[in-house]
Assembly symmetry: C2
Homo-oligomer: 395 residues x 2
C-alpha cells in the first residue's frame, strides 16, 4: 500500500499529451489555450474619445476662450475628422477617433449648447482629458494571454478583440467509463430486492463534463472472458479508461487479473486513504487505466483527487492548492489519509470547513449537503478546530 | 443616480418565473432542481455486505468456533441465500445481500481458506461487523435533495440511484444579446483604423453559458428607426434583453429614447459605481431589459453584479456571499462603489485579494490576469490592507 502523496506523484509522472486542435473561439470556453495571444494592433488602436461631449484645441481654452462654434460631429465608427479652425470645436462620441488638431474632450455635463455654439461651464480642464491614447493599454505584439490558460469569458473577449476567430487548444482525452457489478440495473429500471441502480458512471460523466470532456460509457457483467475481450478493445481505442468497481478482493473482482493479462503495467493497487483505498492505477503505451473502488464516495473522491490533477497536468494547467480552516475537532485513528466531507462557508475572508460525517463510503446522499473534501494527513490522528488543511471542492 | 445597493434591490424585486420543464437527468447538470427528490426505497435497500470475505453466525464465533465449512457464495446481484447449517459460513462479496442466519462478516485479510474450510485468524470480531444495515443511510421517503438545488455531479449520482431518469428543472430564460456601435466589425474582419472588433456580445454569451443559458445575438447599427423596429420584436420574443453600449449621453445613444417609445418602464438609469455607471434597467410585462454600458469591463462587471443575482433569484437559488481580505491599501476618492479587479490566492485558509489596477474600463486584457472584482463601498475612500470586502468571482 502506498501513500496518497506517492500515488499522486506516480500518476503525475505519467501524464499524456493529447495534442492540439483548432476550434472556433466561441466554442473554446473551458479549453486550454495552446498558443500565445498577442495584440494585433495597439490598444486602443487610435486616440480614443472616452466621454461624450466636445473636443477642442486646449491652447484656446488655456488662453481664456470658453465658447466654441461646433464645426461637426465625430461619431464612433467614422473616419477621423480634422478641426479646421482651431477656435471651433467638434462634438465627439465615446469610442470615436479623436479629431486631429484637438487635445481635450469636455463632457456634455460641463457644456451648454445653444445655436451651434458650445460654452464650457467649468473653469478647470486639463490637456488630454477624456482621451484614451493610442497604445495606452498595450502595443502591437504585446502578450495578452499566455498559452496554457483555461479560456473563460474574459479570454473570449480578448480573442474577439484581436480577431482570433479560430484558436489552438489542447485536444481532450478520449475517455471510456466502465461500470461492473452484476447487482446493477439501469436508472429507468425497477431493481429487485438484491439489486441497485447504476449511478457511478453518471457521476463520473458529470465530473468529466465539468472539465469539458465528453466520454463514452459501458456496463460489463462480472464475467472474466467478456471483461477481457471488451477491455482489450477499449485499451486500443481510448486514452483513458475509468473503472468503477471490481478492483477489491472479491471472487468476481476480475479487473486486476484482466489488466495483468492484457499487459497493463500496474503502477499501484491500494492507497493509504479512506475512503477509496483499493484504487488501481496502471498504463499501457496508449492508455491510462484508473480502477476506482465501486463505492460511490470512493469513486467520487478518487476522480477528483487523481484524475483531475492528471488531466490538468496533461493539458498544461497549473492548479493552485486551496485550503480551509477546520471548524470542529476531528479524530481519525487509522494510519490513512482521511478525505472528510465538509460544508464550506466564508467568514471575514476566512474559508471555513465544517465536517459533515456521512455514513461511510456508501452514502452518496451525504455529498448533496457538502461542498468539498478536506484532506487530513496520515501522520496525524487528532485534528483541531482552527487547523488548516487542503481541500478539494466539488461545488 | 442610485446606489449599487438600490440598483440591485430594484432588480431583485423584479425577478421572473420562467416555469418548469422536464429533462433527462443526465442533461440536468447546472440546472436548478424544481422538485424534492425522495428515497424510493431504504438505503441500503438490504443488509449489505461491505467487505469481501465470509459471513457467519456470530454466536458460534462467540462460543469459540474458529473454522467454518464454506457452504456457498453470495455474489453481489444474487438473490439472498440462507446459511443452512449455523456452524458453516458463506463467502460474501461487497455489495451482496447478507445471507440470512448470518450476523458478522470477516474480511478475507483475517481468514485463511483451505479445502473449503475458512479459518478466522483474529481473536476479536464484533457482531454485525462489515454489514451496512438496511435503511442506515436513509429510509423510504426521506428527503435526499431539496428543490432549488443546483444539480452537480453529486446530485446526478443520487438521481440515478433513486431512478429519476427524468427530472423537473427550472426553465431557462430566453435571452437576446444585442451590441450596438457603428465602430464595431466582426471578429473575422480586419478593422479600419477607426474601427474595432465586436467583443462584448461574445463575452456575454460566455458569461451566460456559465449559467447554462444559451442565448441569441444580434448587432444593430446606430440608426434609431432600425433599433426601434428590431427591439420591438425582441421585446415580444425574449424574457431578457442584454444590451452593450448606446446608453450614455452620446448623440447616437438612442437606446433610452427607444426603450421609452416602446413602453419599457425605466426602473433606473445610472448607478453610483465605477466602472459601469451609465447602466439602464427597465422592464415590460414580458421582458427585462439590461442596458449595460459599452466599455468591456463595464459590461462584464454589470453582468456579474446584476444579471447573475437576478437570474439566480429568478430560478430560486440562494447565493452565498463570498468575501476576501485586501492585500494592499487602496485609495478611491469618488463617491462611488468601486469594483476593483483582484487576483485571488489562498494562504492558511484566508482568501487574499491582491488589487491589479487596469487602465480603466476599456482594458479588457486586464481581466485575463485577475480572478474577481472586490466591491469597495461608496461610504469609504481609504481601504486598508487586511480589511474584508465582498468579492464577485469570474474564475
Amino acid at each position: 500500500m502506498i501513500s496518497v502523496e506517492e500515488a499522486l506523484q506516480t500518476i503525475l509522472n505519467s501524464v499524456q499529451n493529447f495534442g492540439v486542435e483548432e476550434v472556433p473561439f466561441i466554442k473554446s470556453v473551458g479549453r486550454t489555450l495552446k498558443e500565445d495571444i498577442k495584440a494585433d494592433r495597439d490598444f486602443p488602436p487610435f486616440n480614443r474619445v472616452s466621454m461624450d461631449g466636445i473636443s477642442i484645441d486646449y491652447l484656446n481654452f488655456k488662453n481664456g476662450q470658453r465658447s466654441f462654434v461646433i464645426e461637426g460631429i465625430q461619431a464612433a465608427g467614422s473616419e477621423q475628422k480634422t478641426l479646421q479652425n482651431s477656435e471651433n470645436c467638434i462634438e465627439v462620441m465615446t469610442g470615436a477617433v479623436l479629431p486631429s488638431n484637438t487635445s481635450a474632450v469636455i463632457r456634455y455635463e460641463d457644456v451648454t449648447i445653444e445655436n451651434e455654439i458650445a460654452t464650457i461651464t467649468i473653469n478647470e480642464i486639463k490637456e488630454n482629458q477624456n482621451i484614451h491614447h493610442r497604445g495606452k493599454d498595450g502595443k502591437t505584439g504585446d502578450l495578452l494571454i499566455k498559452q496554457n490558460t483555461i479560456i473563460s469569458a474574459a479570454e473570449i473577449g480578448v480573442l474577439a478583440t484581436v480577431g482570433k476567430a479560430i484558436v489552438k487548444v489542447a485536444k481532450q482525452p478520449k475517455v471510456m467509463i466502465v461500470s461492473t457489478g452484476d447487482e446493477l440495473v439501469g436508472v429507468d429500471e425497477t431493481p429487485l430486492t438484491h439489486q441497485i441502480r447504476r449511478s457511478n458512471v453518471f457521476t463520473l460523466v458529470s465530473l468529466l463534463e465539468k472539465l469539458n470532456i465528453s466520454s463514452e460509457t459501458a456496463h460489463l457483467t462480472d464475467d472474466k472472458p467478456i471483461l477481457k475481450e471488451k477491455i482489450k478493445e477499449y485499451l486500443q481505442d481510448f486514452d483513458v479508461l475509468l473503472f468503477s468497481g471490481a478492483v477489491s478482493k472479491g471472487k468476481y473482482d476480475f479487473l486486476p487479473e484482466v489488466f495483468d493479462e492484457l499487459g497493463v503495467e500496474k503502477l499501484f493497487h491500494k492507497v493509504g486513504q479512506r475512503p477509496g483505498k483499493p484504487f488501481f492505477y496502471g498504463k499501457t503505451e496508449r492508455s491510462n487505466v484508473f480502477g476506482f473502488p465501486g463505492n460511490p464516495i470512493s469513486t467520487f473522491v478518487n476522480c477528483l483527487a487523481y484524475f483531475y490533477p492528471w488531466y490538468y497536468k496533461s493539458v498544461g494547467i497549473e492548479q493552485q492548492e486551496e485550503n480551509a480552516i477546520l471548524a470542529d475537532d476531528v479524530s481519525f485513528k487509522p494510519s490513512l489519509t482521511y478525505f472528510l466531507q465538509v460544508k464550506l462557508s466564508y467568514r471575514y475572508g476566512h474559508l471555513i470547513a465544517t465536517p459533515i460525517s456521512g455514513n461511510g463510503s456508501g452514502d452518496l446522499a451525504s455529498l448533496v449537503s457538502t461542498d468539498a473534501f478536506i484532506k487530513l494527513p496520515t501522520q496525524q490522528s487528532e485534528f483541531k478546530k482552527g487547523e488548516v488543511f487542503p481541500i478539494i471542492r466539488y461545488r
